[in-house]
Amino acid sequence: MKRRKLVTVIAVTAAMGLALGVGGVANARVKSQEVRGITDDEVLVGGLGPSYPFREFGGETGVLARFEVENQNGGVNGRELTYVGWGDDQNSADTNLAEARRLVEQEGVAALVPVLSPNYLSAAEYAEQQHVPAFGWGISRGFCETTYAFGFSGCLTPPPPVKVASNTWGSLIDEAFKSEGDADGADGKTAAVISEDNDSGRAGKVVVVATAEAVGMEIVYDESSLPPPDPAPVTDFSPYVTELMTANDGEPPDVIFLVISQDNLQGGFQVALNDAGFDGIATNAVLYSPLATGLVTGGSVLTQFATPEAAADVPAVQEFLDAVEAVAPGEVINQPTIAGYVAADMFIQALEAAGKNPTPEKIQKAAAKMTYGIDGFVGPTKYPKGFKAGTPCGQLVASDGTEWTVQVPFQCFSNIKIPSLKKIKY
């Protein structure tokens, strides 16, 4: 009896609490100030994206590391950079919007830094209306459809029909062959491209096929045949592995492009390929991570920036590692760490360019015409071109099962037109 009553009381109180709106929520940091998020002493920003993996695996550390370096040197034009917190969008575009609203309306941030999310869509529209610039990884449409979102690698998911794409991946494979002593590079090699059987898989595959053909590869397999990991995961990769292993007239191709999601990779697609005896180049663009060496044994991963393995050759990478060590000693460096760091770096550059009395609008104006990059590490990304296209730069890392090594150092290539394509075939 008592328990039931308590439950009722809680339910009704919660509802009434809403109606009466007592205090706490309303008393949050809403400064009815002239410039949202910017005072004479500080600039406020907040992060946005799915907590797993982006916040939990370095997104926050990256931005904090970069801000710490800047703040130690007196901030930007005398203003300290303050990161107020992360909005977890729980992998939903709607929650992404809700969290963006919270950061802007409740926390009063001047900008969203970093935005590491595939779900930055309606929030981007909202941000554009509310004049909130965002700096992050261009893996959502928001970076390609609005003028207030800036990606350190530009816009990586342009809307269909895709007419222009970067030829980074193919070129890196080309370089990989050359670095092993094969003077022809990728020219004349056979390639298979497999993606998941859904819309984004098909769209992604088109681009990859173009980039492979651009360096002279012959496409012997081009299918969106792998079931997506929803609602039920793929339990048996063998049919697909068999198809790939016999794609080149009964023989395996030289290169296999895996345009698949992390779930399927973690479920063991690369492992299945290895089991079947594949010894060519199997490459994906997703699963670089210190702990993933086992899952991607023998594979090559495309990353959009240089990774810690390149520290010996690229001073900027070492600087990055030092900065992270200063705020989070011993923490493992993952892609989100790097992404958070460079997004923060890009924001700082735009903030500086916005002058002594910055406003969110001025920051946006400055970012919309700047070129951002760190030599050998990330970029250069030119805006306003970056609103429409991705930066054709990248690095190839390889795993031998226990550690990563840089297979092809970070470098830039070019964008190519995708010729025969008006619309994606269905």
Binding site: G17, G24, E56, D199, D275, V296
Partner: protein, 969 residues
């Protein structure tokens, strides 16, 4: 050929995962009547525990496995049984379905929260985080050595994980078969499945048996969970997703046969591989290229199987649908205004808060809060669709999310302009965009149409199959139609940008806005302003709530409720259940569609992910938590969904205070736990939290009334005894109390509020046959039920061999030596003759005696009892009594429906029982047989024994009076 073989063998091995899942699902359903959607969640929980032991604490995999599967899993099973399953068995059908959906939502979140948040914040333990590990791409190991062992069988490559799964599946199939076929507990499980009510009367503790079956399933699920970790990598949605995939095998088995479910899993695995390998060659191009179709083909197969099976099950389900009694309305006595007042006050307060009517700072909602309220109202509209289809119609539709998405897409399509015909006013084919009203109307119409189509497909399915069918359809639509770029617009979805509601020349909208909101307004509805969104939300919620209210009271509404109570009866009243269901579905879909358009408006875009099937499940759990029969529940549910995180942040941070509570409640895992638990709460309160309002007062009132009834009955008895001058303790209407084996003393009993027996007393001596005669409805069967324990008397005592057994359960009395052969034969039709005997007879000696006494049974030892003739079945029910004579034997119309020769055999057997010393209570229609058999005869009339005495004193006149119902002499 080789390729075919490779694909098949590989498919068989991986199909084993589905087999284990499907077998467990069917076993639970068969032994408890509950389809456990949360089976995968259980597998995840055990796998997670294993992960903490093995990966987290570094314990070797063998002890980790043993602890997880043989200790943790059964304990978890016992806990869930106590908290959930036991209560769900008695709950209405829809509560059983939604209750286990609550498990899907709550259990993975709970166990992760306990390990990652609670342990850290409260206990200070830093346990390994599985999703953290997964997110970094690290491999989460399963059983066996760290290093993968790989085996080559011809061209097929298998690693030790896959082999382990296959072996485990085969082993569990074997163990299940052995347990069910060869052990007593297995026999008990099958008995409970076959005829639950009879099982108790045969000495089987159904609660204990269900518990045992449940624990067994849990262990199997746990084993499966641990084994598939290398593939699923502890992604909780994959564990719950595998249940949906396994539906194919479950549907194939018709939810009855475990071996077929097992085989079905293997078939599914093979089918998936064959589709992957051959579909490009077999299917026409345009089909093969349809995005997402190939992996979804098994879903189509599941749907087909569900229809086929539903057709077969229908006959049996027809009867059980009739017991959908409406819940007690605790507010029934209150006047209308008193019931409405709290809601009116609440709405006004909410409006005042959102529209900033009052000047105080704390009473004004800022933009952010207003935005949340707007979202809550819109989600409330979506929940209203649940009220219609589940609350009114009693159907659990898991496809409501589909209608939301359809509505949103339609609205987006209309708003792009140039779509509507020119002659429509405000069609917006010029420069301005179409009026939002059109978008809403189109959204409603399109969604209703799709709802009607779906209802045509599913309306003939019974409750559970309808839920499963709509779930499968929802997934299918999500992964095929909505993934098709022209329909779903891929990740961006449809935009609902700056719609306008202004109607030129109709100042209604502007006036409304001016009137409601303080301060100068722009004269129209600005959808970007959250306050305007709230206004719109109120308007539409109010509109639909009013519509539902009118629906309830209209003839259509009454027809729908009639269909829900009993389809069979409704049909005889000229109502077409199919048509009613379709109307209901279409209406609920229309509401969901409008909700979808509004949802798209406040979220700027609507994608297929805005309301995917999994989110729709979460919505359902929230909606039922508050109460799905009333619009008020939808309102609270919607607000809860939109604002829960904020409320908990506030409660934890500002009200209770302290970092600990804040950390605990603001974890993203916390709200799913609450929502899931809310759904599980359904087991106790099938009508949600709202129905509890006034509950206590009503409970007290009912208790008072019950006590008054008992007191009145007892006073009545006392009065009568004083009148008749007999000491109340010694009175027995029929038979003598001294040395009697069975005594019923002053029994007052009834069903609910209807009293059937008004003070009945009788006693049966060992070796005596007491015959109870009377017209239909006199209460003879009720007397048998009270004696056997199937019905608890309101007052009075039952004594068995001198011991008071009034509060003993039927299975206890059966074990104490009371055997009841009920009216419709006391056998289990789904078991063989031998198995039927084994239920009561344990020793070989006793079995032999039974076969000797009835040789015909010996001939038919291995036949299903349901196939025997009436006489043979009655012999079967009597045989155990003759082999092991019970203390008390009660037969309710034992010769009913039997041919004369068969009846004679039965009479003989009963005489023999008497000679063996049993006390026999006989209820019989055929007076002639009774007169031969009985020692004492008692006549019952209207719940009282009006005459009793030795057989010789019973005469024709009395008999006639008893049967024709004339008042006794």
């Amino acid at each position: 050929m080789e390729r075919f073989l490779n694909l098949t063998v590989s498919g068989l091995v991986t199909g084993a995962i589905y087999s284990i899942m499907a077998s467990g699902l069917v076993l639970t359903y068969q032994t408890s009547g509950i389809f456990n959607f949360g089976h995968g969640a259980v597998a995840f929980a055990v796998a997670y525990f294993y992960f903490q032991l093995h990966s987290g604490e570094g314990i070797h995999w063998v002890p980790s496995l043993i602890l997880s599967v043989l200790v943790f899993a059964p304990l978890l099973g016992l806990l869930l049984d106590r908290v959930l399953m036991r209560r769900l068995s008695a709950a209405p059908v829809y509560a059983r379905i939604v209750g286990t959906i609550g498990l899907v939502v709550a259990l993975p979140a709970l166990i992760q929260w306990l390990a990652e948040v609670f342990a850290d914040v409260v206990l200070g333990l830093e346990l390994q985080s599985a999703r953290g590990l997964r997110a970094t791409g690290a491999e989460i190991p399963g059983i066996g050595p760290e290093k993968r062992e790989v085996f080559h069988i011809g061209d097929i490559v298998l690693d030790h994980h896959k082999l382990a799964i296959f072996i485990a599946a085969a082993l569990s199939a074997l163990i299940l078969w052995a347990v069910l076929r060869k052990t007593r507990i297995g026999l008990a499980m099958r008995v409970v499945v076959d005829r639950r009510e009879l099982a108790g009367l045969r000495g089987i503790n159904e609660a204990r048996t269900s518990q045992a079956a449940w624990v067994l399933t849990m262990m199997l699920a746990g084993l499966a969970g641990v084994l598939v970790t290398p593939i699923f990598q502890l992604a909780d949605y994959q564990y719950t997703g595998i249940v949906y995939a396994s539906l194919f095998a479950v549907a194939l088995s018709g939810l009855r046969s475990i071996p077929i479910a097992f085989a079905g899993g293997l078939v599914l695995g093979v089918m998936q591989n064959l589709i992957a390998g051959y579909s490009d060659e077999i299917l026409p191009d345009f089909v093969a290229k349809l995005s997402g179709l190939k992996p979804s083909l098994p879903l189509l197969g599941t749907l087909l199987l569900l229809f086929v099976q539903a057709g077969r099950v229908k006959a049996r389900e027809a009867g059980s649908v009739a017991d959908e009694r409406p819940p007690t309305d605790y507010r029934a006595g209150l006047p209308a205004w008193r019931r409405r007042l709290p809601w009116i006050v609440f709405t006004l307060l909410l409006a005042a808060f959102s529209f900033q009517w009052f000047d105080a700072g704390w009473a004004q909602a800022d933009t952010y809060e207003t935005g949340l309220i707007a979202k809550g109202l819109v989600v409330g509209v979506i929940f209203l669709s649940f009220v219609v289809v589940t609350g009114v119609g009693g159907m659990v539709s898991l496809a409501q999310g589909t209608f939301v998405v359809v509505g949103g897409f339609s609205a987006g399509y209309v708003l792009e302009g140039k779509v509507l015909p020119d002659w429509l006013p405000f069609a917006g084919n010029g420069d301005e965009s179409p009026n939002f009203l059109w978008a809403l109307i189109v959204a409603a119409l399109v969604a209703a149409a799709i709802g009607a189509v779906i209802s045509v497909l599913v309306r003939r399915l019974g409750a559970l199959y309808l839920a499963l069918g709509t779930l499968v359809l929802a997934f299918f639509t999500h992964y095929t139609f909505f993934d098709y770029e022209p329909i779903g617009r891929s990740s961006l979805g449809w935009f609902i940008r700056q719609p306008t509601l202004d109607l030129d020349g109709v100042p209604l909208v502007g006036s409304a806005v001016d009137w409601v909101l303080p301060g100068p307004q722009s004269g129209g509805l600005e959808f970007r302003l959250t306050q305007h969104q709230v206004l719109l939300g109120f308007v539409f919620f109010g509109l639909f709530a009013l519509m539902i209210h009118c629906l309830f009271r209209s003839p259509t509404g009454r027809a729908m409720l009639a269909v829900r109570s009993s389809e069979v009866a409704a049909r005889t009243a000229g109502i077409s259940p199919a048509k009613q269901k379709m109307t209901l579905f279409a209406l609920s879909a229309a509401i969901a569609g409008v909700g979808g358009a509004l949802f798209g408006m406040i979220n700027i875009t609507i994608t297929r992910g805005s309301a995917d099937p999994r989110l729709a499940l979460v919505w359902l759990t929230i909606a039922v938590t508050f109460g799905i029969r009333r619009p008020g529940g939808a309102l609270l549910g919607g607000l809860a969904f939109a604002c829960s995180q904020q409320i908990f942040a506030w409660l934890g941070g500002d009200v209770i205070g302290g970092d600990t509570v804040t950390a605990l409640t603001t974890s993203d895992l916390f709200t799913p736990i609450l929502f899931g638990l809310g759904a599980i709460n359904l087991a106790k309160n099938p009508d949600g939290l709202l129905a509890l309002v006034g509950h206590e007062r009503a409970q007290k009132r009912l208790e008072r009334e019950r006590k008054a009834r008992i007191a009145a009955a007892e006073a009545d008895l006392e009065g009568k005894h004083e009148e008749e001058g007999e000491p109340s303790t010694a009175r027995i209407d029929a038979g003598t109390r001294e040395g009697a084996t069975l005594v019923l003393d002053r029994i007052v009993a009834g069903y609910g509020e209807v009293e059937v027996l008004h003070d009945v007393s009788l006693a049966v001596q060992p070796g005596e046959i007491v015959a109870l005669l009377g017209a239909n409805g006199a209460g003879k069967s009720t007397v048998c039920a009270v004696a056997a324990g199937a019905l608890t008397p309101t007052s009075g005592q039952v004594l068995l061999a001198g011991e008071d057994v009034t509060d003993h359960a039927p299975h206890q009395r059966a074990r104490e030596g009371l055997l009841l052969v009920p009216e419709a034969r006391g056998i289990f039709p789904g078991l063989t003759v031998e198995e039927n005997l084994q239920v009561l007879l344990r020793a070989d000696e006793e079995m032999r005696k039974a076969y000797e006494r009835f040789p015909i049974l010996d001939e038919r030892r291995h036949q299903l009892a349901g196939l025997l003739s009436g006489g043979e079945q009655q012999m079967l029910s009597l045989a155990p009594a003759l082999a092991q004579p019970p203390k008390v034997f009660i037969a309710d119309e034992p010769t009913l429906g039997l041919a004369p020769l068969a009846a004679e055999v039965v009479v003989e057997a009963i005489r023999e029982l008497k000679e063996l010393g049993s006390a026999v209570l006989l209820v019989e229609e055929k007076a002639r047989e009774v007169m031969q058999l009985a020692d004492t005869v008692a006549f019952m009339e209207l719940g009282r024994i009006v005459w009793s005495g030795p057989r010789d004193e019973a005469d024709a006149e009395r008999l006639a009076a008893a049967y024709l119902g004339a008042p006794s002499a």
